[in-house]
């Protein structure tokens, strides 16, 4: 193989002058984590809301929920990224659009919003499934003891539903984290983008991508471990 291996490349200074290539990858990692966490907050809250809408008795609420899910699930993430980044500012009134485009870290905010809305549609489906798998008696019992619909969801249905869907929710969280890499197309300097820049500056393709791969595997492992710890902690005693 006609390739010059150099594993010490990580300790070479990067041309950005602010540190080594390893520092560059770590800064990418922190953007990846920041984007994943911020967008997850949106995805989790909005997704729960939409998921609940789809289980309410009101037809109108169900329809809104369904439309949201269909819209955000049926357009590729990359296209949604471009819509938020290139199209939305043009459709806003002139001064707003300009303000939005000149925000520092505009690609970070765009990525957070885009991933938040995209992942929300997936979280919504999990929440809906979670609520629907609960015995119907739970809802009825809530109503019977005089809880309002809001209280029934808040104190009975959602706490149980979240416990049921914790494993699929964990994998949605990981999907969301992996999807942050799509934001490199709008200039977000996350981990994959940094690995790519490192490859370009240093010409060490395999070392750069191997490092990124190992980091992603590590994150997955940590998240899965934490999630199963959480699962045992929040389990309702005697529910299994």
């Amino acid at each position: 193989m006609n390739y010059n291996w150099n594993w010490r490349v990580f300790f070479d200074p990067s041309p950005e002058g602010t540190g080594t290539y390893a520092d560059m990858l770590l800064s990418g990692l922190s953007w990846t984590i920041a984007t994943a966490l911020c967008s997850w907050i949106i995805a989790f809250s909005l997704g729960s809301l939409i998921g609940v809408l789809r289980t309410l008795p009101s037809r109108g609420a169900q329809r809104i929920g369904t439309m949201y899910v269909e819209l955000f699930r049926n357009i590729p993430l990359l296209v949604q990224m471009f819509l938020w980044f290139y199209v939305v500012p043009e459709l806003l009134p002139g001064s707003w659009g300009t303000w939005l485009k000149q925000l520092p870290n505009a690609s970070f905010y765009t990525a957070v919003i885009c991933l938040g809305f995209f992942t929300a549609s997936r979280v919504a489906e999990q929440v809906r499934t979670g609520i629907e798998t609960l015995p119907r008696g739970q809802r009825m019992a809530g109503t019977a003891i005089g809880l309002t619909t809001w209280q029934t969801y808040r104190y009975v249905l959602l706490p149980n539903a979240y416990r049921v869907i914790l494993p699929p929710l964990t994998s949605e969280f990981l999907n969301n984290l992996k999807n942050t890499s799509v934001a490199l197309t709008i200039g977000l300097l996350e981990l994959t983008a940094r690995a790519r820049s490192m490859q370009e500056f240093s010409s060490q393709v395999f070392e750069s991508f191997t490092a990124a791969t190992v980091i992603y595997l590590g994150i997955s492992l940590i998240v899965v471990t934490l999630s199963s710890k959480l699962e045992t902690r929040i389990a309702v005693p005697g529910s299994r």
């Binding site: 950005e16 690609s107 820049s197 370009e200 010409s203």
Partner: protein, 312 residues
Amino acid sequence: MHFGHHRSVALKATVVLASAMSFTLGAAGANAQELTGTLKKIKETGEITIGYRDASVPFSYLDGDQKPVGYAFEICKKIAEAVKTNLKLSKLEVRLNPVTSATRIPLIANGTVDLECGSTTNNVDRQKQVSFTNTHFLTATRYVAKKSAKLDAIEDLKGKTVVSTSGTTNIRQINEANTARNLGLTILPAKDHAEAFLMVETGRAAAFVMDDVLLASLAASSKEPGTYAISSEALSKPEPYGIMLRKDDAPFKAVVDEATAKLYKSPEGKALYDTWFTKPIPPRGINLSLPMSEPMIKAFASPSDSADPAAY
């Protein structure tokens, strides 16, 4: 002309098998030529793969029909002809593969592309992974911005968001300048020149840092050419562009060097240059009006593959 992008795996496998068989037969015949590396591969497969760019106007870019054209692309076609003659092939299929600034070097190294025809700066760092033939252009790093923004000197960029194409020497230079001069820039890497220019066009970035010749052609072919200005201050000396080929493949490089040297020294080379830099070019018939500079005339008169800007 049809190019084999959409070849099925099955067909590919047949080609591999066929070439493997012809190799075995050739070896059994014991009269095979002593070919190595890329030349051997081209001889066996009857194919040469040229890497082209999306938007390196006028070097290598897609015209109105989304077909690759350009100055460097034409040079590569001439090289392919020279290779065909050299190997005494009756037929040589030219396959095309799109490359970006980010993918071009790995794709040369991994054998996907044999010649990269575009606007690749020849420098010492890159020579660790690839090799370059004779210089076909010289250009310095500058930036383009909207005229209304009045960003003529590098100091004017302080605190702004600028874009450059990922994988280029230019993004490296702006990063270095950012640190050295404490400019506080946000530097966005774009996938290709068109995307980067778009960021300036749509107001996503204040300036696009790139080789001045590419900036001039991007601005000239934009919707409103009059609204853009290229900085007078440069971030680098004029640096050489070369066509890339695989490293440590002296016989192939010799053929390519000979072909390019012959072309550049002949009137045909000057004519080729004029076609792309002093005449209307596709798709919109703009004229870049960039007659050959003194150093360029010298570079053509005595072709060189040196990476050192001082050599020109």
